[in-house]
Protein backbone atom coordinates (compact mmCIF):
# COMPACT_ATOMS: atom_id res chain seq x y z
CA UNK A 1 0.00 0.00 0.00
CA UNK A 2 2.73 2.42 0.95
CA UNK A 3 4.64 1.55 -2.18
CA UNK A 4 1.54 2.13 -4.24
CA UNK A 5 0.89 5.50 -2.62
CA UNK A 6 4.52 6.41 -3.25
CA UNK A 7 4.11 5.36 -6.85
CA UNK A 8 1.08 7.59 -7.26
CA UNK A 9 2.93 10.47 -5.66
CA UNK A 10 5.81 9.93 -8.08
CA UNK A 11 3.41 10.05 -10.99
CA UNK A 12 1.49 13.06 -9.75
CA UNK A 13 4.46 15.18 -8.65
CA UNK A 14 5.59 16.28 -12.14
CA UNK A 15 2.03 17.28 -13.04
CA UNK A 16 1.65 19.28 -9.85
CA UNK A 17 4.99 20.92 -10.56
CA UNK A 18 3.77 21.75 -14.07
CA UNK A 19 0.66 23.40 -12.64
CA UNK A 20 2.80 25.33 -10.17
CA UNK A 21 4.89 26.72 -13.03
CA UNK A 22 1.88 28.92 -13.85
CA UNK A 23 2.62 30.93 -10.69
CA UNK A 24 6.32 30.26 -10.25
CA UNK A 25 7.46 31.39 -13.68
CA UNK A 26 4.81 33.77 -15.07
CA UNK A 27 7.38 35.35 -17.39
CA UNK A 28 8.03 32.08 -19.17
CA UNK A 29 4.51 30.92 -20.03
CA UNK A 30 5.01 30.55 -23.78
CA UNK A 31 8.32 28.77 -23.23
CA UNK A 32 6.70 26.39 -20.75
CA UNK A 33 3.86 25.71 -23.20
CA UNK A 34 6.43 24.95 -25.92
CA UNK A 35 8.10 22.42 -23.62
CA UNK A 36 4.78 20.63 -23.11
CA UNK A 37 3.91 20.71 -26.81
CA UNK A 38 7.32 19.36 -27.78
CA UNK A 39 7.03 16.73 -25.06
CA UNK A 40 3.70 15.54 -26.43
CA UNK A 41 5.16 15.44 -29.94
CA UNK A 42 8.14 13.41 -28.69
CA UNK A 43 5.81 11.08 -26.78
CA UNK A 44 3.90 10.46 -30.01
CA UNK A 45 7.13 9.49 -31.70
CA UNK A 46 8.06 7.28 -28.76
CA UNK A 47 4.82 5.38 -29.32
CA UNK A 48 5.56 4.69 -33.00
CA UNK A 49 9.34 4.39 -32.84
CA UNK A 50 10.18 3.46 -29.26
CA UNK A 51 7.42 0.93 -28.77
CA UNK A 52 6.18 -0.23 -32.18
CA UNK A 53 9.69 0.07 -33.66
CA UNK A 54 8.56 2.03 -36.75
CA UNK A 55 11.73 3.87 -37.76
CA UNK A 56 10.36 7.09 -39.24
CA UNK A 57 12.25 10.11 -40.49
CA UNK A 58 9.05 11.95 -41.44
CA UNK A 59 7.14 12.41 -38.22
CA UNK A 60 7.24 16.18 -38.64
CA UNK A 61 4.65 15.75 -41.39
CA UNK A 62 1.97 14.86 -38.85
CA UNK A 63 2.88 17.75 -36.59
CA UNK A 64 2.65 20.04 -39.61
CA UNK A 65 -0.62 18.52 -40.84
CA UNK A 66 -2.12 19.04 -37.38
CA UNK A 67 -0.85 22.61 -37.25
CA UNK A 68 -2.23 23.48 -40.69
CA UNK A 69 -5.51 21.67 -40.04
CA UNK A 70 -6.03 23.58 -36.78
CA UNK A 71 -5.12 26.88 -38.43
CA UNK A 72 -7.31 26.39 -41.50
CA UNK A 73 -10.18 25.14 -39.34
CA UNK A 74 -9.91 28.19 -37.07
CA UNK A 75 -9.88 30.61 -40.00
CA UNK A 76 -12.52 29.07 -42.26
CA UNK A 77 -14.78 26.95 -40.05
CA UNK A 78 -14.87 27.69 -36.36
CA UNK A 79 -12.47 29.53 -34.06
CA UNK A 80 -13.22 27.33 -31.06
CA UNK A 81 -9.83 25.96 -29.92
CA UNK A 82 -11.08 22.56 -28.73
CA UNK A 83 -12.98 21.96 -31.96
CA UNK A 84 -9.84 22.95 -33.87
CA UNK A 85 -7.83 20.53 -31.76
CA UNK A 86 -10.28 17.71 -32.47
CA UNK A 87 -10.26 18.47 -36.20
CA UNK A 88 -6.46 18.55 -36.32
CA UNK A 89 -6.16 15.31 -34.35
CA UNK A 90 -8.63 13.60 -36.65
CA UNK A 91 -7.01 14.82 -39.87
CA UNK A 92 -3.49 13.91 -38.73
CA UNK A 93 -4.68 10.50 -37.52
CA UNK A 94 -6.38 9.89 -40.84
CA UNK A 95 -3.27 10.85 -42.79
CA UNK A 96 -1.32 8.54 -40.50
CA UNK A 97 -3.72 5.66 -41.09
CA UNK A 98 -3.72 6.07 -44.87
CA UNK A 99 0.03 6.51 -45.28
CA UNK A 100 0.64 3.81 -42.69
CA UNK A 101 -1.49 1.33 -44.62
CA UNK A 102 0.54 2.22 -47.70
CA UNK A 103 4.03 1.86 -46.28
CA UNK A 104 4.03 -0.34 -43.18
CA UNK A 105 4.63 -3.55 -45.13
CA UNK A 106 8.19 -2.38 -45.53
CA UNK A 107 10.89 -2.01 -42.91
CA UNK A 108 14.40 -0.72 -42.33
CA UNK A 109 15.92 1.58 -44.88
CA UNK A 110 13.00 1.37 -47.31
CA UNK A 111 10.59 2.44 -44.60
CA UNK A 112 12.83 5.37 -43.66
CA UNK A 113 12.91 6.49 -47.29
CA UNK A 114 9.14 6.14 -47.64
CA UNK A 115 8.46 8.20 -44.52
CA UNK A 116 10.85 10.84 -45.83
CA UNK A 117 9.28 10.82 -49.30
CA UNK A 118 5.74 11.09 -47.94
CA UNK A 119 6.74 13.93 -45.62
CA UNK A 120 8.38 15.70 -48.57
CA UNK A 121 5.26 15.26 -50.67
CA UNK A 122 3.02 16.66 -47.93
CA UNK A 123 5.39 19.61 -47.52
CA UNK A 124 5.26 20.16 -51.28
CA UNK A 125 1.48 20.16 -51.16
CA UNK A 126 1.48 22.74 -48.36
CA UNK A 127 3.91 24.83 -50.38
CA UNK A 128 1.88 24.81 -53.58
CA UNK A 129 -1.64 25.12 -52.12
CA UNK A 130 -1.02 28.81 -51.41
CA UNK A 131 -4.71 29.76 -51.21
CA UNK A 132 -5.21 27.40 -48.33
CA UNK A 133 -1.87 27.44 -46.54
CA UNK A 134 -0.25 30.73 -47.48
CA UNK A 135 2.61 28.83 -49.14
CA UNK A 136 6.06 29.80 -47.98
CA UNK A 137 4.73 32.98 -46.31
CA UNK A 138 3.13 30.71 -43.76
CA UNK A 139 -0.44 30.66 -42.47
CA UNK A 140 -1.40 33.70 -40.43
CA UNK A 141 -4.57 35.14 -38.96
CA UNK A 142 -5.41 32.31 -36.56
CA UNK A 143 -7.51 33.78 -33.74
CA UNK A 144 -8.74 31.10 -31.37
CA UNK A 145 -11.85 32.06 -29.42
CA UNK A 146 -11.94 31.64 -25.59
CA UNK A 147 -11.54 28.08 -24.32
CA UNK A 148 -15.01 26.60 -23.64
CA UNK A 149 -16.29 30.09 -24.37
CA UNK A 150 -15.05 31.14 -20.93
CA UNK A 151 -11.28 31.57 -20.79
CA UNK A 152 -9.85 34.19 -23.09
CA UNK A 153 -6.27 33.66 -24.33
CA UNK A 154 -4.54 36.37 -22.31
CA UNK A 155 -1.54 38.45 -23.24
CA UNK A 156 0.69 36.72 -20.67
CA UNK A 157 -0.10 33.23 -21.91
CA UNK A 158 -1.53 31.82 -18.67
CA UNK A 159 -4.65 30.50 -20.40
CA UNK A 160 -2.61 29.10 -23.26
CA UNK A 161 -0.28 27.36 -20.82
CA UNK A 162 -2.96 25.79 -18.64
CA UNK A 163 -4.96 24.82 -21.73
CA UNK A 164 -1.87 23.16 -23.22
CA UNK A 165 -1.15 21.43 -19.92
CA UNK A 166 -4.69 20.06 -19.73
CA UNK A 167 -4.58 18.71 -23.29
CA UNK A 168 -1.12 17.24 -22.80
CA UNK A 169 -2.22 15.63 -19.53
CA UNK A 170 -5.23 13.96 -21.15
CA UNK A 171 -3.19 12.65 -24.10
CA UNK A 172 -0.39 11.42 -21.86
CA UNK A 173 -2.84 9.50 -19.65
CA UNK A 174 -4.37 7.95 -22.78
CA UNK A 175 -0.93 7.03 -24.09
CA UNK A 176 0.18 5.46 -20.80
CA UNK A 177 -3.07 3.56 -20.59
CA UNK A 178 -2.64 2.24 -24.12
CA UNK A 179 0.98 1.30 -23.56
CA UNK A 180 0.04 -0.64 -20.43
CA UNK A 181 -2.74 -2.52 -22.25
CA UNK A 182 -2.37 -5.84 -24.08
CA UNK A 183 -2.35 -3.83 -27.31
CA UNK A 184 0.58 -1.76 -26.02
CA UNK A 185 2.50 -4.86 -25.01
CA UNK A 186 1.83 -6.42 -28.40
CA UNK A 187 3.50 -3.37 -29.98
CA UNK A 188 6.62 -4.06 -27.93
CA UNK A 189 6.37 -7.65 -29.12
CA UNK A 190 6.21 -6.56 -32.75
CA UNK A 191 9.29 -4.40 -32.27
CA UNK A 192 11.25 -7.18 -30.62
CA UNK A 193 10.29 -9.94 -33.02
CA UNK A 194 7.66 -9.40 -35.70
CA UNK A 195 8.04 -12.93 -37.08
CA UNK A 196 7.24 -14.52 -33.71
CA UNK A 197 4.30 -12.20 -33.21
CA UNK A 198 2.97 -13.32 -36.57
CA UNK A 199 3.57 -16.93 -35.61
CA UNK A 200 1.40 -16.61 -32.49
CA UNK A 201 -1.35 -15.10 -34.61
CA UNK A 202 -1.06 -11.38 -33.91
CA UNK A 203 -2.25 -9.18 -36.80
CA UNK A 204 1.12 -7.42 -37.01
CA UNK A 205 0.33 -5.11 -39.91
CA UNK A 206 -2.95 -3.91 -38.40
CA UNK A 207 -1.26 -3.32 -35.05
CA UNK A 208 1.45 -1.25 -36.71
CA UNK A 209 -1.06 0.79 -38.70
CA UNK A 210 -3.10 1.42 -35.54
CA UNK A 211 -0.01 2.49 -33.61
CA UNK A 212 1.13 4.71 -36.47
CA UNK A 213 -2.29 6.36 -36.81
CA UNK A 214 -2.51 6.90 -33.06
CA UNK A 215 0.97 8.37 -33.01
CA UNK A 216 0.11 10.61 -35.97
CA UNK A 217 -3.07 11.82 -34.26
CA UNK A 218 -1.09 12.67 -31.15
CA UNK A 219 1.54 14.50 -33.19
CA UNK A 220 -1.32 16.33 -34.91
CA UNK A 221 -2.63 17.51 -31.53
CA UNK A 222 0.84 18.77 -30.69
CA UNK A 223 0.95 20.63 -34.01
CA UNK A 224 -2.46 22.14 -33.34
CA UNK A 225 -1.35 23.30 -29.87
CA UNK A 226 1.70 24.87 -31.48
CA UNK A 227 -0.42 26.64 -34.10
CA UNK A 228 -2.91 27.94 -31.53
CA UNK A 229 -0.12 29.15 -29.24
CA UNK A 230 1.88 30.99 -31.91
CA UNK A 231 -1.17 31.87 -34.07
CA UNK A 232 0.90 31.09 -37.15
CA UNK A 233 1.98 27.99 -39.06
CA UNK A 234 5.15 27.97 -41.11
CA UNK A 235 6.21 25.58 -43.86
CA UNK A 236 9.17 24.60 -41.68
CA UNK A 237 6.78 22.85 -39.28
CA UNK A 238 6.42 20.09 -41.90
CA UNK A 239 10.09 19.85 -42.72
CA UNK A 240 12.98 17.46 -42.26
CA UNK A 241 14.29 19.62 -39.44
CA UNK A 242 11.08 19.15 -37.45
CA UNK A 243 11.27 15.39 -37.96
CA UNK A 244 14.91 15.38 -36.93
CA UNK A 245 14.33 17.58 -33.92
CA UNK A 246 11.60 15.39 -32.49
CA UNK A 247 13.78 12.33 -33.05
CA UNK A 248 16.52 14.02 -31.06
CA UNK A 249 14.21 15.08 -28.27
CA UNK A 250 12.74 11.59 -27.91
CA UNK A 251 16.13 9.92 -27.88
CA UNK A 252 17.74 12.58 -25.71
CA UNK A 253 15.08 12.11 -23.06
CA UNK A 254 15.15 8.34 -23.35
CA UNK A 255 12.78 6.20 -25.35
CA UNK A 256 10.29 3.89 -23.66
CA UNK A 257 10.74 5.80 -20.42
CA UNK A 258 7.73 7.24 -18.62
CA UNK A 259 9.01 10.83 -18.49
CA UNK A 260 11.60 10.52 -21.25
CA UNK A 261 9.76 12.59 -23.84
CA UNK A 262 9.10 15.46 -21.41
CA UNK A 263 12.60 15.36 -19.96
CA UNK A 264 14.08 15.60 -23.47
CA UNK A 265 11.67 18.40 -24.37
CA UNK A 266 12.54 20.35 -21.21
CA UNK A 267 16.27 20.22 -21.88
CA UNK A 268 15.93 20.82 -25.61
CA UNK A 269 13.38 23.65 -25.66
CA UNK A 270 14.81 25.54 -22.68
CA UNK A 271 18.38 25.09 -23.96
CA UNK A 272 17.39 26.21 -27.43
CA UNK A 273 15.54 29.23 -26.10
CA UNK A 274 18.52 30.55 -24.18
CA UNK A 275 21.24 29.48 -26.59
CA UNK A 276 19.41 30.79 -29.65
CA UNK A 277 19.49 34.28 -28.19
CA UNK A 278 23.27 34.10 -28.32
CA UNK A 279 23.87 32.20 -31.59
CA UNK A 280 21.64 29.50 -33.09
CA UNK A 281 24.59 27.72 -34.68
CA UNK A 282 26.39 27.32 -31.36
CA UNK A 283 23.23 25.70 -30.03
CA UNK A 284 23.18 23.42 -33.06
CA UNK A 285 26.74 22.42 -32.22
CA UNK A 286 25.79 21.61 -28.64
CA UNK A 287 22.68 19.65 -29.59
CA UNK A 288 24.60 17.72 -32.25
CA UNK A 289 27.32 16.78 -29.77
CA UNK A 290 24.70 15.80 -27.19
CA UNK A 291 23.02 13.62 -29.78
CA UNK A 292 26.25 11.82 -30.61
CA UNK A 293 27.05 11.38 -26.92
CA UNK A 294 23.62 9.90 -26.20
CA UNK A 295 23.95 7.37 -29.02
CA UNK A 296 27.52 6.43 -28.18
CA UNK A 297 27.41 6.39 -24.39
CA UNK A 298 23.92 6.70 -22.88
CA UNK A 299 21.55 4.52 -24.82
CA UNK A 300 18.71 5.24 -22.41
CA UNK A 301 18.97 9.00 -22.69
CA UNK A 302 18.54 11.46 -19.85
CA UNK A 303 15.94 9.27 -18.14
CA UNK A 304 18.50 6.47 -18.08
CA UNK A 305 21.10 8.85 -16.72
CA UNK A 306 18.75 9.86 -13.91
CA UNK A 307 18.26 6.17 -13.07
CA UNK A 308 21.99 5.65 -13.02
CA UNK A 309 22.59 8.53 -10.60
CA UNK A 310 19.68 7.36 -8.51
CA UNK A 311 21.13 3.86 -8.25
CA UNK A 312 24.55 5.23 -7.32
CA UNK A 313 22.98 7.28 -4.56
CA UNK A 314 21.01 4.34 -3.19
CA UNK A 315 23.03 1.19 -3.95
CA UNK A 316 20.96 -1.04 -1.64
CA UNK A 317 17.69 -0.57 -3.52
CA UNK A 318 19.16 -1.38 -6.95
CA UNK A 319 17.23 -3.70 -9.19
CA UNK A 320 13.75 -2.29 -8.70
CA UNK A 321 12.18 -0.25 -11.45
Amino acid sequence: MIARAGNWAMRAAPWLAAIAVNWIAPDYMSLAASVLTMGLFALSLDLALGHAGIVTLGHGAFYGVGAYAAGIFAIHVWADPLAGLAAATLVAGLVGAVTGALILDTSGLTLMMLTLAIASMIAEFANSARDLTGGDDGLTGIRPSPVLGLFRFDLWGHTAYLYTLAVVFVWTMIAWRILGSPFGHSLDGVRQNAARMRAIGAPVRMRLIAAYALSAAMAGTAGALGAQATKTVSLASLGVLTSGTVLMVAVLGGMRRRWGAYLGALVYVVGQNFAAEIDPFRWMLVIGLMMIAVVMFFENGLAGLVDLLDRRARPSTGGGK
Binding site: G108, T110, E124, G244, R282, L285, G288, L289, M296
Partner: protein, 289 residues
Protein backbone atom coordinates in the same frame (compact mmCIF):
# COMPACT_ATOMS: atom_id res chain seq x y z
CA UNK B 1 6.81 18.59 -80.35
CA UNK B 2 9.67 17.89 -82.67
CA UNK B 3 12.12 15.05 -82.38
CA UNK B 4 14.91 17.50 -81.65
CA UNK B 5 13.18 19.10 -78.69
CA UNK B 6 12.33 15.67 -77.36
CA UNK B 7 16.02 14.81 -77.69
CA UNK B 8 16.91 17.97 -75.75
CA UNK B 9 14.52 17.00 -72.97
CA UNK B 10 16.07 13.55 -72.80
CA UNK B 11 19.54 15.07 -72.71
CA UNK B 12 18.47 17.44 -69.90
CA UNK B 13 17.03 14.51 -68.01
CA UNK B 14 20.22 12.53 -68.50
CA UNK B 15 22.33 15.47 -67.30
CA UNK B 16 20.17 15.99 -64.21
CA UNK B 17 20.17 12.26 -63.51
CA UNK B 18 23.95 12.12 -63.79
CA UNK B 19 24.20 15.14 -61.48
CA UNK B 20 22.11 13.22 -58.96
CA UNK B 21 24.41 10.23 -59.36
CA UNK B 22 27.58 12.30 -59.02
CA UNK B 23 26.33 14.00 -55.86
CA UNK B 24 25.06 10.83 -54.22
CA UNK B 25 27.70 8.41 -55.54
CA UNK B 26 29.59 8.57 -52.23
CA UNK B 27 26.43 7.57 -50.41
CA UNK B 28 25.96 4.61 -52.73
CA UNK B 29 29.21 3.37 -51.23
CA UNK B 30 28.69 4.12 -47.53
CA UNK B 31 24.96 3.42 -47.41
CA UNK B 32 24.46 1.36 -50.53
CA UNK B 33 27.44 -0.95 -50.33
CA UNK B 34 28.48 -0.85 -46.66
CA UNK B 35 24.86 -0.53 -45.42
CA UNK B 36 25.65 2.19 -42.91
CA UNK B 37 22.70 4.55 -42.45
CA UNK B 38 24.80 7.58 -43.20
CA UNK B 39 22.60 10.65 -42.87
CA UNK B 40 25.83 12.65 -42.63
CA UNK B 41 26.61 12.18 -46.32
CA UNK B 42 25.63 15.80 -46.98
CA UNK B 43 27.84 16.88 -44.09
CA UNK B 44 30.90 15.16 -45.58
CA UNK B 45 29.99 16.65 -48.95
CA UNK B 46 29.85 20.08 -47.30
CA UNK B 47 33.28 19.63 -45.72
CA UNK B 48 34.68 18.82 -49.15
CA UNK B 49 32.72 21.54 -50.90
CA UNK B 50 33.76 24.24 -48.45
CA UNK B 51 37.40 23.13 -48.66
CA UNK B 52 37.15 23.22 -52.46
CA UNK B 53 35.62 26.69 -52.47
CA UNK B 54 38.34 27.98 -50.16
CA UNK B 55 40.94 26.52 -52.54
CA UNK B 56 39.22 28.19 -55.52
CA UNK B 57 39.07 31.51 -53.69
CA UNK B 58 42.83 31.27 -53.11
CA UNK B 59 43.58 30.85 -56.79
CA UNK B 60 43.64 27.07 -57.15
CA UNK B 61 42.43 25.58 -60.42
CA UNK B 62 39.20 23.57 -60.72
CA UNK B 63 41.00 20.22 -60.79
CA UNK B 64 43.10 21.07 -57.74
CA UNK B 65 39.96 22.25 -55.90
CA UNK B 66 38.33 18.88 -56.60
CA UNK B 67 41.39 17.09 -55.26
CA UNK B 68 41.41 19.22 -52.11
CA UNK B 69 37.68 18.60 -51.64
CA UNK B 70 38.26 14.86 -51.91
CA UNK B 71 41.13 14.95 -49.42
CA UNK B 72 39.25 17.09 -46.89
CA UNK B 73 36.07 15.03 -47.02
CA UNK B 74 37.97 11.74 -47.14
CA UNK B 75 40.13 12.74 -44.17
CA UNK B 76 37.07 13.74 -42.17
CA UNK B 77 35.44 10.46 -43.16
CA UNK B 78 38.45 8.45 -42.05
CA UNK B 79 38.46 10.12 -38.63
CA UNK B 80 34.70 9.75 -38.23
CA UNK B 81 34.81 6.09 -39.22
CA UNK B 82 37.39 5.34 -36.54
CA UNK B 83 35.75 7.28 -33.74
CA UNK B 84 32.04 7.21 -34.44
CA UNK B 85 30.95 4.73 -37.08
CA UNK B 86 32.92 1.63 -36.15
CA UNK B 87 31.25 1.14 -32.73
CA UNK B 88 27.86 1.43 -34.43
CA UNK B 89 28.26 -1.02 -37.33
CA UNK B 90 26.56 -3.79 -35.40
CA UNK B 91 23.94 -1.67 -33.65
CA UNK B 92 21.26 -1.36 -36.30
CA UNK B 93 19.60 1.40 -38.28
CA UNK B 94 18.34 3.73 -35.58
CA UNK B 95 21.55 4.46 -33.61
CA UNK B 96 23.34 5.03 -36.92
CA UNK B 97 20.60 7.36 -38.13
CA UNK B 98 20.66 9.34 -34.88
CA UNK B 99 24.43 9.62 -34.59
CA UNK B 100 24.83 10.75 -38.19
CA UNK B 101 22.01 13.26 -37.74
CA UNK B 102 23.85 14.68 -34.74
CA UNK B 103 27.08 14.68 -36.73
CA UNK B 104 25.34 16.63 -39.49
CA UNK B 105 24.32 19.28 -36.95
CA UNK B 106 27.87 19.48 -35.64
CA UNK B 107 29.31 19.92 -39.13
CA UNK B 108 26.73 22.52 -40.17
CA UNK B 109 27.30 24.50 -36.97
CA UNK B 110 31.10 24.30 -37.17
CA UNK B 111 31.29 25.30 -40.83
CA UNK B 112 28.88 28.18 -40.29
CA UNK B 113 30.73 29.44 -37.23
CA UNK B 114 33.95 29.34 -39.26
CA UNK B 115 32.71 30.62 -42.63
CA UNK B 116 29.46 32.50 -42.00
CA UNK B 117 26.03 31.96 -43.51
CA UNK B 118 26.64 33.17 -47.07
CA UNK B 119 26.45 30.80 -50.06
CA UNK B 120 29.95 29.64 -51.06
CA UNK B 121 30.89 30.96 -54.47
CA UNK B 122 32.10 28.21 -56.76
CA UNK B 123 32.97 29.65 -60.18
CA UNK B 124 33.28 27.23 -63.10
CA UNK B 125 36.45 27.31 -65.19
CA UNK B 126 35.91 29.13 -68.52
CA UNK B 127 36.09 25.85 -70.43
CA UNK B 128 32.95 24.59 -68.65
CA UNK B 129 31.03 27.85 -68.39
CA UNK B 130 30.11 28.21 -72.06
CA UNK B 131 28.05 26.38 -74.67
CA UNK B 132 29.18 23.55 -76.94
CA UNK B 133 27.79 22.79 -80.39
CA UNK B 134 26.44 19.24 -80.35
CA UNK B 135 25.16 19.06 -83.93
CA UNK B 136 21.54 20.08 -83.61
CA UNK B 137 21.89 22.82 -81.02
CA UNK B 138 24.30 24.54 -78.63
CA UNK B 139 24.30 22.84 -75.23
CA UNK B 140 25.81 23.95 -71.90
CA UNK B 141 29.29 22.46 -71.55
CA UNK B 142 28.79 22.00 -67.81
CA UNK B 143 25.89 19.57 -68.36
CA UNK B 144 27.87 17.53 -70.85
CA UNK B 145 30.72 17.51 -68.34
CA UNK B 146 28.37 16.18 -65.64
CA UNK B 147 27.20 13.38 -67.93
CA UNK B 148 30.80 12.45 -68.69
CA UNK B 149 31.87 12.70 -65.04
CA UNK B 150 28.97 10.52 -63.94
CA UNK B 151 29.72 7.90 -66.56
CA UNK B 152 33.40 7.93 -65.60
CA UNK B 153 32.64 7.54 -61.90
CA UNK B 154 30.26 4.67 -62.60
CA UNK B 155 32.91 2.95 -64.72
CA UNK B 156 35.55 3.45 -62.02
CA UNK B 157 33.27 2.06 -59.34
CA UNK B 158 32.44 -0.95 -61.46
CA UNK B 159 36.14 -1.61 -62.11
CA UNK B 160 37.15 -1.30 -58.46
CA UNK B 161 34.23 -3.14 -56.90
CA UNK B 162 33.63 -5.86 -59.47
CA UNK B 163 37.05 -6.37 -60.97
CA UNK B 164 39.68 -5.95 -58.25
CA UNK B 165 40.73 -8.08 -55.31
CA UNK B 166 39.95 -5.14 -53.02
CA UNK B 167 36.39 -5.03 -54.34
CA UNK B 168 35.93 -8.76 -53.84
CA UNK B 169 37.22 -8.49 -50.27
CA UNK B 170 34.94 -5.54 -49.60
CA UNK B 171 31.86 -7.36 -50.86
CA UNK B 172 32.80 -10.37 -48.78
CA UNK B 173 33.43 -8.21 -45.70
CA UNK B 174 30.00 -6.60 -46.00
CA UNK B 175 28.25 -9.93 -46.42
CA UNK B 176 30.07 -11.84 -43.70
CA UNK B 177 32.63 -9.91 -41.66
CA UNK B 178 33.26 -12.76 -39.19
CA UNK B 179 34.11 -15.26 -41.89
CA UNK B 180 36.35 -12.70 -43.57
CA UNK B 181 38.26 -12.11 -40.35
CA UNK B 182 38.61 -15.84 -39.93
CA UNK B 183 40.34 -16.22 -43.28
CA UNK B 184 42.66 -13.31 -42.58
CA UNK B 185 41.03 -10.39 -44.35
CA UNK B 186 41.61 -7.11 -42.49
CA UNK B 187 37.94 -6.10 -42.35
CA UNK B 188 38.57 -2.97 -40.26
CA UNK B 189 41.08 -1.59 -42.75
CA UNK B 190 38.79 -2.37 -45.68
CA UNK B 191 35.83 -0.65 -44.06
CA UNK B 192 37.93 2.37 -43.08
CA UNK B 193 39.34 2.75 -46.61
CA UNK B 194 35.97 2.28 -48.25
CA UNK B 195 34.18 4.65 -45.93
CA UNK B 196 36.83 7.30 -46.48
CA UNK B 197 36.52 6.77 -50.24
CA UNK B 198 32.75 7.24 -50.03
CA UNK B 199 33.26 10.49 -48.14
CA UNK B 200 35.90 11.66 -50.60
CA UNK B 201 33.41 11.05 -53.41
CA UNK B 202 30.85 13.08 -51.45
CA UNK B 203 33.31 15.99 -51.45
CA UNK B 204 33.95 15.61 -55.18
CA UNK B 205 30.23 15.49 -55.84
CA UNK B 206 29.68 18.67 -53.84
CA UNK B 207 32.17 20.59 -55.99
CA UNK B 208 30.96 19.13 -59.29
CA UNK B 209 27.29 19.67 -58.50
CA UNK B 210 27.65 23.07 -56.82
CA UNK B 211 26.00 24.85 -59.76
CA UNK B 212 22.81 22.84 -59.28
CA UNK B 213 22.94 22.51 -55.51
CA UNK B 214 24.72 25.57 -54.11
CA UNK B 215 26.75 25.14 -50.94
CA UNK B 216 25.16 26.95 -48.02
CA UNK B 217 24.76 26.24 -44.28
CA UNK B 218 21.76 23.95 -44.64
CA UNK B 219 23.10 22.07 -47.67
CA UNK B 220 23.60 18.90 -45.63
CA UNK B 221 19.93 18.78 -44.64
CA UNK B 222 18.32 20.38 -47.70
CA UNK B 223 19.51 17.76 -50.15
CA UNK B 224 19.63 14.83 -47.75
CA UNK B 225 16.23 13.60 -48.88
CA UNK B 226 17.41 13.58 -52.49
CA UNK B 227 20.63 11.67 -51.70
CA UNK B 228 18.77 9.10 -49.65
CA UNK B 229 16.07 8.65 -52.25
CA UNK B 230 18.61 7.86 -54.95
CA UNK B 231 20.19 5.12 -52.87
CA UNK B 232 16.91 3.91 -51.41
CA UNK B 233 15.36 3.48 -54.83
CA UNK B 234 18.51 2.01 -56.30
CA UNK B 235 18.67 -0.60 -53.59
CA UNK B 236 21.43 -1.30 -51.13
CA UNK B 237 24.22 -3.69 -51.83
CA UNK B 238 24.90 -2.69 -55.43
CA UNK B 239 25.90 0.74 -56.73
CA UNK B 240 24.44 0.04 -60.19
CA UNK B 241 20.98 0.47 -58.71
CA UNK B 242 21.87 4.03 -57.75
CA UNK B 243 22.96 4.78 -61.30
CA UNK B 244 19.70 3.43 -62.70
CA UNK B 245 17.69 5.23 -60.00
CA UNK B 246 19.48 8.55 -60.65
CA UNK B 247 18.80 8.37 -64.36
CA UNK B 248 15.17 7.29 -63.93
CA UNK B 249 14.52 10.06 -61.39
CA UNK B 250 16.38 12.62 -63.50
CA UNK B 251 14.25 11.75 -66.53
CA UNK B 252 10.98 11.68 -64.57
CA UNK B 253 11.74 15.03 -62.98
CA UNK B 254 12.82 16.72 -66.22
CA UNK B 255 9.97 15.33 -68.31
CA UNK B 256 7.53 16.29 -65.54
CA UNK B 257 8.89 19.85 -65.47
CA UNK B 258 8.47 20.21 -69.23
CA UNK B 259 4.99 18.80 -69.58
CA UNK B 260 3.33 19.48 -66.21
CA UNK B 261 5.34 22.29 -64.62
CA UNK B 262 2.78 22.89 -61.85
CA UNK B 263 2.78 19.32 -60.65
CA UNK B 264 6.39 18.34 -61.26
CA UNK B 265 7.42 17.90 -57.64
CA UNK B 266 4.34 15.78 -56.95
CA UNK B 267 5.22 13.64 -59.91
CA UNK B 268 8.74 13.30 -58.56
CA UNK B 269 7.71 12.22 -55.06
CA UNK B 270 4.82 10.12 -56.32
CA UNK B 271 7.31 8.32 -58.55
CA UNK B 272 9.63 7.86 -55.56
CA UNK B 273 6.87 6.38 -53.42
CA UNK B 274 5.63 4.23 -56.29
CA UNK B 275 9.10 2.89 -57.06
CA UNK B 276 9.79 2.15 -53.38
CA UNK B 277 6.52 0.29 -52.98
CA UNK B 278 6.93 -1.57 -56.26
CA UNK B 279 10.49 -2.63 -55.47
CA UNK B 280 10.98 -2.30 -51.70
CA UNK B 281 14.50 -3.73 -51.96
CA UNK B 282 15.49 -1.36 -54.74
CA UNK B 283 15.57 -1.43 -58.51
CA UNK B 284 18.76 -3.49 -58.49
CA UNK B 285 18.68 -5.40 -55.21
CA UNK B 286 21.98 -6.53 -53.78
CA UNK B 287 23.06 -10.16 -53.75
CA UNK B 288 21.99 -10.86 -50.18
CA UNK B 289 19.52 -9.63 -47.55
Amino acid sequence: MSVLSLLTILLDGLAFGMALFVISVGLTITLGLMRVVNLAHGAFAMIGGYAGSVALANGAGFALAILIAALAAGGAGLAAERLLFRPLYSRGDLPQALMTFGLTFVVIATLTILFGTAIRIMPLPPSLAGLVDIGFRAYPAYRLFLIAAGALLALLLWLVIDRTMFGARLRAAVDNPRMCRAIGIDVDAIFATTFAAGCALAGIGAVLGAQLMPLEPYYALRYLVLFLIVVGIGGTGDFRGSLVASLVLGLIDTVGKYFLPGASSYIFFAAVIGLLLWRPRGLVPGPSQ
